[in-house]
């Protein structure tokens, strides 16, 4: 159900500095429960934005909407200048059909809290699945690309293992390689360390650190690892009950939070860790 008239939104974003991802007055609700309330958020190309906030603040929903796992109730999301949730028909924006969604989805990759590797495929097969069966690549080419990525995440030696034989940290690294094999422009990390034992969190965060350092990927991340977020993010957004309560550089937000709720949240997190 569309509650917002989208006629006021542009058919595509134009100008010099088009953000890679742009949420424009995006609203998401389940019945009467408003999860996101008129969200405006731009992420520039190559920018690493981390979303933090208490549970139920809508932070995971931001990523899920961008992956088209959730529909939105109002507003428009643009990716790479083009509308994601909508498409142009007769000079107007209408709801995206499945074809448009498939075209736009190819720009986005996502890693999940519970990895969601395909259990009936080996690590290598997991990585090759998308390139072969979605991008139509030859098996040889897909294998080369996948082996390269598995080597990058330090999983080359385990490439023939099924997920059930891998630790959580190893599975998550394979999941990152699998998403990267599709060559997305935007990567989404949804609490990728939350389901991991403390001693293996580092192996996953190190992979993401390397991605940030060596590649110009646009990334959106939801995490509870504040130290990690502080180290690698260009910008931190603090979400509170469906809105961005405060945002800024890690130094600003962690060092000198302006809003009371941000201060409360950060001190609560500090006490817990």
């Amino acid at each position: 159900m569309d509650t917002t008239d989208v006629s006021a939104f542009p058919l595509r974003l134009e100008g010099d500095a088009i953000p890679m991802v742009s949420f424009k007055k995006v609203t998401k609700s389940y019945g009467n429960l408003v999860v996101l309330d008129s969200l405006d958020l731009d992420v520039a190309e190559g920018e690493m934005v981390t979303v933090i906030g208490p549970s139920g603040s809508g932070k995971t929903t931001v990523l899920r909407m961008l992956m088209t796992l959730e529909t939105i109730n109002g507003g428009v999301i643009y990716v790479d200048g083009e509308p994601l949730t909508h498409m142009e028909r007769d000079g107007k924006l209408v709801r995206a059909d499945s074809r448009h969604l498939r075209k736009m989805r190819s720009k986005i990759g996502m890693c999940f809290q519970h990895f969601n590797l395909f259990p009936h495929m080996t690590a290598l097969e997991n990585c090759m699945e998308g390139p072969v069966h979605v991008l139509g690549m030859s098996k040889k080419e897909a294998r080369e690309r996948s082996e390269e990525l598995l080597a990058m995440v330090g999983m080359a030696e385990k490439r023939d293992q099924h997920p059930s034989r891998l630790s959580g940290g190893q599975q998550q690294r394979v999941a990152i390689a699998r998403a990267l094999a599709m060559r997305p422009k935007v990567m989404l990390f949804d609490e990728v360390t939350s389901a991991l034992d403390p001693e293996v969190i580092g192996e996953v965060t190190n992979v993401i650190r390397r991605l940030v350092a060596e590649h110009n990927l646009t990334m959106l991340m939801v995490t509870h690892q504040m130290g990690f977020a502080k180290d690698i993010s260009d910008r931190i957004c603090f979400f509170y009950s469906g809105r961005i309560e405060e945002q800024g550089s890690p130094e600003e937000l962690f060092g000198n939070p302006q809003k009371e709720r941000t201060q409360q949240f950060l001190s609560a997190v500090k006490e817990a860790s």
Binding site: M67, T68, L69, R102, R105, S106, I108, G109, M110, F112, H114, N116, L117, F118, P119, H120, T122, E129, G130, H133, V134, Q161, H162, P163, S164, R165, A175, R178, A179, M182
Partner: protein
């Protein structure tokens, strides 16, 4: 006549009946699997007409007696111009009946594949058909295999009803033998043992083997 003499005299007929029963079981199992997958998927189709068709099919074939369905297919369909040879009518009836039960197994197994698998397949931008064929169904198969073991044993036992439209299966043969010899204990006792052996030493080990194969594919064996 001793039991050995009985077997010597009627062994051939019992063996030929057993072969017919096995052929019926294999053919109706193949039909049941095909129908179960098709109807199970149709039950989850976005289109209401498709869903409705599958629901009606499942309701009718689960809700009425297999024997009545068999009689319908063999005696009533010819009145509408569709005449099936009795062997065909036999395995079609059993296959369609068990396929309706199987459809619910397929649907249940598909729904119990974790939601994260659907989401990961979508995040890889797989088409709905690829998601189902490459990601969901292989996992659903492993979930539903144990229940299919039971269903196939039911199916084997269900084939005995085709004797009533005079398909020369195991049940038909022992009934005939009983009719001429009046050695009821020997006739029906032998049938009992053969049905048990087929179920216990052929279907069950076959399903176990299939489970092991699937487990190995999951890297869990």
């Amino acid at each position: 006549m001793s039991y050995f003499e009985f077997l010597g005299q009627y062994g051939d007929r019992i063996a030929s009946g057993t072969l017919i029963t096995m052929a019926l079981t294999v053919l109706s199992a193949l039909l049941a699997v095909a129908i179960a997958v098709a109807a199970g998927l149709m039950r989850m189709a976005p289109n209401m007409a498709v869903r409705g068709f599958a629901t009606v099919y499942i309701e009718i074939f689960r809700g009425t007696s297999l024997l009545v369905q068999l009689y319908w297919i063999f005696f009533v369909l010819p009145l509408f111009g569709i005449t099936l040879e009795k062997f065909t009518a036999g395995f079609v009836a059993v296959g369609m009946n068990l396929g309706a039960y199987g459809a619910e197994l397929v649907r249940g197994a598909i729904l119990s594949v974790p939601k994260g698998q659907w989401e990961a397949a979508l995040a890889l931008n797989m088409s709905p058909a690829k998601r189902m064929i490459r990601v969901i169904l292989p996992q659903a198969v492993l979930i539903m295999l144990p229940s299919w073991g039971n269903l196939l044993i039911e199916l084997l036992k269900g084939t005995a009803l085709v004797a009533l439209i005079s398909v020369a299966d195991l049940m038909f043969q022992v009934k005939q033998i009983n009719g001429t010899t009046f050695m009821s204990a020997e006739s029906f006792g032998t049938a009992l043992i053969i049905y048990y052996v087929l179920a216990r030493f052929m279907i069950t080990p076959f399903m176990r083997w299939l489970e092991r194969v699937m487990m190995r594919k999951m890297g869990r064996a």
